[in-house]
């Protein structure tokens, strides 16, 4: 049992570190984890869940705003991008946030192709992050079910 726990813990550690190294997550995610405790054991999962719902909503807004036959209201697109940039920043979704910065610039330049490209990329990116984090949460569950505790991972 202990060997299994140790193996799972190592897997979890390696996986978490890789997410940071590949730029999926940044320090803010670490801050979220610090706010989690026995009293609020699902805090991180809950915030991320709200974030992914937000992604669906905001990306939908952006898509609709860009889908206008006629003139596109770039300030409308930009408003949704700004909101997504804010929430991705709050949860430590580094790649999503980075894309929003670029996206915002294309909005300001009223660059249609640039905006459409960013929209596609941000859609892929949030879905990728969602899958990665699901895998990470599953590893946590497995560790707990095997009778172990989820280790604190020191990124630095």
């Amino acid at each position: 049992m202990d060997a299994l726990v140790a193996q799972l813990q190592m897997q979890f550690r390696d996986y978490t570190i890789s997410l940071y190294q590949q730029g999926f997550l940044d320090d803010q995610f670490t801050e979220l984890k610090k706010l989690q405790d026995e009293g609020s054991p699902d805090f991180v999962a809950e915030v991320l869940s709200l974030f992914f719902e937000d992604c669906v909503k905001l990306i939908g807004n952006m898509a609709r705003a860009l889908d206008q036959t006629g003139t596109v209201d770039y300030s409308q697109v930009g408003a949704s991008v700004h909101q997504l940039k804010g929430s991705s920043s709050s949860v430590g979704a580094k790649r999503v946030k980075g894309l929003c910065v670029t996206f915002k610039e294309y909005c300001e330049a009223k660059n249609y192709e640039g905006c459409v490209r960013c929209l596609q990329q941000v859609d892929i990116e949030y879905k990728t992050l969602k899958t990665k984090l699901q895998d990470m949460f599953n590893l946590e569950k497995q560790i707990i079910q095997a009778g172990g505790i989820v280790p604190q991972v020191d990124i630095n």
Partner: protein
């Protein structure tokens, strides 16, 4: 001869019924982002604060009774120690909310903290000039919240200590009088 009760034995230090508990600051947090509301709520709870969340400046004014519907009737007992508001919100901004709060006689003394994801100096200056207690860059840090709470509690604690000191002096005065009378 009856025993004179010394002031230390008098249970004067536990009568805090007239004072709000120094531990539980009540914070009104205003943000249109559901993610940010969840986050600030956690920061505040971890810092032992009581939290009320609203999703717009309009709702904040409704909560405070400043929306012109009720006047401040019934809102005198509403005890808010701190208001934290996002700057960029659809409809009324955090800056406009700040101005409305500072214009109200009931709530102008409440510290208002502005939060923003954008580090724009003229914006920060404008908010501070309008009477904001502080301007925090998002994402807000736990250290920021703790610092705010500590400084507010120090102000509360000073007021509390002054009252306790006064009571102690009064009790000592009574003790001296009783001793002289040799009851």
């Amino acid at each position: 001869m009856a025993e004179v009760i010394r002031p230390e034995k008098l249970d004067i230090s536990n009568d805090t019924s007239s004072l709000a508990s120094p531990e539980l600051l009540h914070v009104l947090a205003v943000d249109d982002s559901i993610v940010d509301r969840k986050f600030i709520e956690r920061l505040l709870r971890v810092s032992s604060c009581r939290v009320t969340l609203v999703d717009s400046a309009t709702r904040a004014l409704q909560y405070l009774g400043l929306d012109g519907e009720n006047g401040s009737v019934g809102f005198e007992d509403l005890k808010i120690n701190l208001i934290m508001t996002d700057y960029s919100m659809p409809g009324m901004t955090g800056y406009e909310l700040l101005k409305k709060i500072k214009e109200s006689s009931a709530f102008r003394e409440i510290p208002v903290v502005i939060m923003s994801s954008e580090n724009i100096i003229p914006r920060i200056d404008r908010c501070l000039e309008e009477g904001a207690e502080d301007f925090l860059l998002k994402p807000v840090k736990l250290a920021d919240v703790k610092r705010l709470r500590d400084s507010l509690m120090k102000a509360d604690e000073r007021a509390f200590k002054n009252i306790m000191h006064k009571r102690e002096l009064e009790a000592n005065d009574i003790y001296s009088q009783l001793k002289r009378a040799k009851i």
